[in-house]
């Protein structure tokens, strides 16, 4: 029987799943995903996690609870850094320890450290270590890693062309009825795990699309362009998300024709609290673009979210209508 590796459908699943899936399958392991986020998963997560943690982490706990009894291994890598001289949120670095010390009855964790802060070569090291759980054949692991990188590249390629990770991962067909209004270009900024988990953000993506919005994300900007723009900051931004988000927004402000910006953040997110503020200040100074911050936590109500979203889109559309009108007051 194949070894079953469990991957919680949360946090970096939305960024790396194609890579992980191919890698494990090439090593003859069976990949088991937790279910799509539901209210039950959220509830279980809230119960097992400290209340101060942010919503995505609580949901991650819920997914671990959902899957832990069905698999032989749980894949919860320790993400310290995913790019040179940059970090990600410290909670990712402590995630396996947080899980291990607060949930009982876990299968063995694969908690390889992924730290590319000093050198990109550490990625292959992490792959070898992870592969070691399944086979002693180093050549096989190398081959699997190569293939995994290949499918990861394809995945990123599609994103650069405008597909959203949730479209690719969930294989959703785009059958949403378009509205009759002219299409709006709206930049939606946020961590992958907030943007593409439709339960967390209460169907933000679909709601926007139904309202005739073409969604742009920071992942659509080439990495080196984003990095070059992030260099505008007087001090190097040391969070991967921060420098990518800031750089991409600057790129959009420069080149693209965007009608509005939505910043989706989770309550208590340390990285967002600074990055969002920096971006908002920069946007307001450089361009006349509507900017809205939507904050998510486990108490968020659908209605409030819908109201704010609708009001925002209405406002953006009114700006266009009024532009062509002559004021009645002469």
């Amino acid at each position: 029987m194949d070894v079953k590796v469990g991957i919680p459908r949360a946090l970096f699943y939305y960024q790396y799943y194609p890579l992980w899936k191919t890698f494990f399958e090439e090593l003859d392991a069976q990949v088991v995903l937790s279910e799509h986020t539901t209210a039950k998963i959220l509830d279980e997560g809230i119960k097992s996690c400290v209340s101060e943690a942010c919503l995505p982490v609580k949901i991650f706990y819920g997914h671990v609870m959902n899957i832990k009894d069905k698999v032989d291994y749980l894949f919860i890598p320790r993400f310290t850094s995913i790019s040179k001289k940059e970090y990600i949120c410290p909670k990712f670095g402590g995630l396996p320890d947080m899980i291990r010390n607060s949930i009982k009855g876990l299968p063995p964790l694969i908690d390889t450290e992924i730290n590319l802060r000093k050198s990109k070569k550490n990625a292959i090291k992490a792959a070898m270590e992870t592969g070691g759980f399944f086979t002693k054949d180093k050549r096989k692991i190398e081959r699997a890693y190569k293939k995994a990188l290949e499918s990861y590249r394809e995945f990123n390629e599609k994103i650069k062309q405008g597909a959203l990770p949730s479209d690719i991962l969930d294989r959703k067909l785009n059958v949403i009825k378009k509205s009759n209004e002219p299409e709006l270009n709206i930049l939606v900024i946020g961590h992958v795990y907030n943007l593409y988990d439709s339960f967390i953000n209460m169907d933000l993506i679909d709601k926007l699309r139904k309202n005739g919005v073409k969604i742009m994300t920071i992942d659509m900007v080439e990495e080196d362009i984003a990095r070059k723009n992030a260099g505008l900051l007087p001090k190097k931004m040391f969070w991967n998300f921060g420098s990518r988000a800031f750089g991409s927004v600057m790129n959009f402000l420069d080149k693209e024709d965007i009608d509005g910006i939505i910043y989706l953040m989770s309550f208590g997110c340390g990285v967002d609290s600074f990055v969002c503020d920096l971006i908002e200040r920069r946007v307001r100074k450089t361009k006349d673009v509507p900017f809205i911050i939507l904050t998510l936590d486990e108490h968020s109500g659908q209605a409030g979210m819908d109201t704010r979203l609708e009001a925002f889109i209405d406002m953006v559309r009114w700006r266009y209508r009024n532009e062509n009108n002559v004021s009645a007051y002469g």
């Binding site: 996690c49 400290v50 101060e52 943690a53 320790r78 310290t80 001289k85 940059e86 970090y87 990600i88 949120c89 410290p90 909670k91 670095g93 402590g94 320890d97 947080m98 010390n101 607060s102 450290e113 900051l233 007087p234 001090k235 190097k236 931004m237 040391f238 969070w239 953040m265 309550f267 208590g268 997110c269 340390g270 990285v271 967002d272 609290s273 600074f274 969002c276 503020d277 920096l278 200040r281």
Partner: protein
């Protein structure tokens, strides 16, 4: 150029010694108060951590007193502190408080660059002189920490309640008017002697509580609602691993002077948290283990709301609590924290520890009499 710097507990004493000795012109912001916090809360992002808000309040209050340059430390992540300097620059500029920011960046810095920055402040002192100033600053920080530790020891044992606080708080006010590291050291020495002269109960065996957590909220007495003195007043001896001198050495001086840091905490934290994840998470876990092994009665963890590293630590602490059978209380502070609720929790915790100790002693005596 009139320099100012943010408050964090007694840091101002060490920075004052440094700036006095190099002969720079500076403004010490008014000690942390409700006003500093309110000013900061008004301008800082809502979800930023508390220290940033207080820092911004400090800068604005110093600006009102004529300061135009900020001297602060930097960092390279992943804790938010490393980006404080930029956030402050942006926020202050956007609100019409135009100030320069000089950042002393620790680890990546080369010695000469660092000395160059100090030199810029000092206006042409030679390197020998600068190194001497740095050494004296470190000594001041260490002496002030020793004085604080002495106050921790005497407070629960004093016979006349409040006498330690009177002397210690007096010192914190008086030191502002004293100039230069030598005079500060003399004042520290005098205060120490005053404290030693206090009448104390020599046989007292106070409860021992260790404070761990994020450095700003544990060290800064305004932010922690004077937790040292509250606990001391309840007859509890306080210990704290985070110190000003430790912080200054780690964040500013490590690049210049070869200090070896006590890394025992990292070893102790290993079974629970394998790597450094930024901030003080590893210290919090490791020190909790060490204190538990030393037989402390209880641990209090303090951190500002949304502090990323300490949330990780808080998730792990229950495991330490279970393994070492030691009570741990977590206190989270933000601008909305009410003093009454905070006090109630501390009082309840101390009561619990006291009962626990009594019960332990009774059990011990029973065993003895049974023998």
């Amino acid at each position: 150029m009139k320099i100012t710097f943010p408050h964090m507990g007694n840091t101002y004493i060490a920075v004052k010694a440094l700036l006095d000795d190099i002969g720079a012109e500076y403004v010490i912001p008014p000690l942390n108060s409700k006003r500093s916090l309110e000013l900061g809360t008004k301008y800082a992002p809502e979800m930023a951590c508390l220290p940033l808000k207080i820092n911004i309040g400090n800068y604005i209050e110093a600006y009102e007193k004529g300061a135009d340059t900020i001297l602060t430390a930097g960092g390279r992540g992943p804790c938010r502190f490393g980006y404080y300097c930029e956030m402050c620059r942006e926020i202050l500029n956007d609100n019409g408080y135009t100030m320069d920011v000089i950042v002393l960046e620790p680890p990546d810095v080369e010695i000469m660059k660092f000395i160059g920055k100090i030199r810029k402040l000092a206006g042409g002192l030679n390197i020998y002189h600068i190194l001497k100033v740095i050494k004296n600053t470190t000594i001041v920080a260490q002496r002030v920490d020793e004085l604080e530790r002495l106050a921790f020891k005497i407070r629960p044992r004093e016979l006349r309640k409040g006498s330690t606080d009177r002397i210690y708080e007096g010192f914190r006010r008086k030191v502002i008017d004293v100039k230069g590291s030598q005079e500060i050291l003399k004042l520290v020495e005098d205060t120490k002697n005053q404290l030693l002269k206090l009448e104390i109960d020599k046989d007292a065996r106070p409860l021992e509580i260790a404070i761990v957590g994020e450095i700003y909220t544990t060290i800064d007495s305004y932010t922690s609602f004077n937790i040292d003195s509250i606990l001391g007043g309840m007859g509890v001896e306080v210990h704290r691993a985070n110190t000003i001198s430790g912080w200054i050495i780690e964040h500013i001086l490590k690049a210049v002077v070869p200090f070896t840091k006590d890394k025992r905490y990292a070893e102790a934290a290993k079974p629970y948290l394998g790597t450094m994840i930024g901030g003080h998470a590893q210290e919090t876990i490791g020190n909790t283990v060490l204190y538990a092994k030393d037989g402390f009665d209880g641990i209090i963890q303090i951190y500002p709301l949304t502090c990323m590293p300490e949330i990780v630590a808080e998730s792990i602490l229950p495991a330490v609590e279970r393994d070492y059978n030691i009570p741990i209380l977590t206190l989270i502070i933000d601008e909305m924290t009410g003093e009454a609720g905070y006090m109630t929790r501390i009082e309840a915790f101390v009561d619990l520890l006291r009962k626990r100790r009594e019960r332990g002693e009774i059990a011990e005596n029973l065993v003895l009499s049974g023998n």
